[in-house]
Symmetry: C2
Subunit: 365 residues, 2 copies
Amino acid sequence: MGKEAAYELSLLLNTPSSALGSCRYKLKDYEEDETDYKRILEIFQKYDVRYFFYNGGNDSMDTCNKISKYMQHVGYECRVMGVPKTIDNDLYGTDHCPGFPSAARYIISTCMELYLDARVYDTPMICIVEIMGRHAGWLAASAAAATYTGFGPDLIYLPETDFDVDNFIADVKEVYDDNNGKVFVAVSEGIHDKTGKLISEYGNETEMVDSFGHKQLGGLAQTLVSILKDHFPGTKIRGIEFSLLQRCASHAASQTDISESFEAGRVAVEYAVHGISDKMVGFRRKTDEDGNYKCEIKLIDLDACANTEKKVPLEWINAAGNGMRKPYIDYLLPLIQGDPKIPMQNGLPRFANLKKIKAKPPRKK
Amino acid sequence: MGKEAAYELSLLLNTPSSALGSCRYKLKDYEEDETDYKRILEIFQKYDVRYFFYNGGNDSMDTCNKISKYMQHVGYECRVMGVPKTIDNDLYGTDHCPGFPSAARYIISTCMELYLDARVYDTPMICIVEIMGRHAGWLAASAAAATYTGFGPDLIYLPETDFDVDNFIADVKEVYDDNNGKVFVAVSEGIHDKTGKLISEYGNETEMVDSFGHKQLGGLAQTLVSILKDHFPGTKIRGIEFSLLQRCASHAASQTDISESFEAGRVAVEYAVHGISDKMVGFRRKTDEDGNYKCEIKLIDLDACANTEKKVPLEWINAAGNGMRKPYIDYLLPLIQGDPKIPMQNGLPRFANLKKIKAKPPRKK
């Protein structure tokens, strides 16, 4: 690889991972339909692909696992490794997932800033922020670290517990009365009532489903604004969706996350070269003699982590289901340490430009 | 002042300015109604207030000017100085306004990141971001610096020109066809048609009522999404509002802005102590012998800057009214330089806590 190409690749450390591209495509089981698998095998054979690394969350580990098992099934020798990456932090078998700490760091900073902004006037104001997380509330929970500094949400709701609208209104009223009419709420997009119905659907009966069979969500913050309106007449109530911003905010990334993410990929390659296959790389949390956080690499069977969601432990959520307990903060803080040194050009971030890298012609059989 | 109080105050450099509080209150002319003015004078006399600094944008300079003129009218000796601060960057008489470069820096980073995120899949995607700016488009224009890096909006619309829906659809279609169905649009919240009607109001005629019986007011981004839907059937179209985030994102501030903002306040105090009054502090742009940007302080009559809006020069907007020309980038880039060193505690930003500062008892007459 030339010097210029090596430099472009190094810039990926501080470029949103979307630069690599992605897809949302659910592979059927090969027993059910072999079409896709045959095509993959054809490509693998054509270019003599003997190492396959797949990067992503639960659905990606499912895909990776299926491809691994198929290659074993047909006897094609290929080392298949899953490399975790999901801001949702819900992969089984790993202490945490690359990407999550950076998204959490962005959410914490942004919540701290919004806390002040939403209190700038003397008048009452209820501010509701909607944070990603369909089934696991790791990201919304991270807003609790902002609260821990004194500048954060008063109430936090996760999909790990059932959401009750009447309790919610009572919670908001209590904070409103104690706090001069200032209330700051953080919610996971996936909060639901005890029947399992999503709160975001309370305002909208139509459903849209993506190719993974997930409901297309959106508008939860707005739904909650509507719910509160009748109970707080005349009060300014604002819903804010962090939207795509929270999953690509490389400018606010955690250096710990960047270093660990790179290490996960590097070790995956090293293991594969040494003959390991059919595994996902994961993290094990350690504490050194001085009580400092350390992160070790471990391997998990792809079978185990495909489609198994890891949720926020219930004992880390308070009894009222509207805030986080200290152990969650202790879990989170070591992960979000460190300001990355972002490469700049003309005072603007310099992202990797992958078009500048010419691939070597594939080695044909 | 004690050491601790001095430290807390120093933290204001990296704390969102909303920590200082604000108000939205329009003073009537004193010839019309003297009530408020009498009360202000009473307070000034009670605490022997002889220096009055007022920080804000157009409306604040109007207030500052009115108070200055009233104190002259009644012969109360008080030095009144306006200190500019508005992310809108629309104050007359100053090259730029404290706050604007930091908001611009946040918008540029965020647009660069969204550019990649909105292109992560192979499928078509139209992404529309709504940026603050009612009458002047300085902030939305700043997204052009992202485009300049190769990672930014394809189309940018400001309130300085009339917005035409048919032209907009044609613009989007052209980019869509050239670009594999990827289109990224940035708009100022205040864009309007040639009759002056706000585009954000286009969606309000057909009343959307949610299941709680509340009228749903979509923002401008959502209105544009609705407008495009029929023209791009099946294409994912997403509206994103930067909302309050863009005006309080201290984590992404420009160090140049922070230094200049501090200097503006410092010099305002210095001038006032030396007998100057009835002025606003402003910036004059200079270039040193090596061609580097420099910023000098100047004074502007409060009369001149109260209620006069400075818009983006039309010659900096392209002929089609959907993008920015190079001179705007040249204007902007020097202002957004420099990563601030943000004070941290436990790896989280350490904001000023003004409650920790005990005010000295006021000096009574």
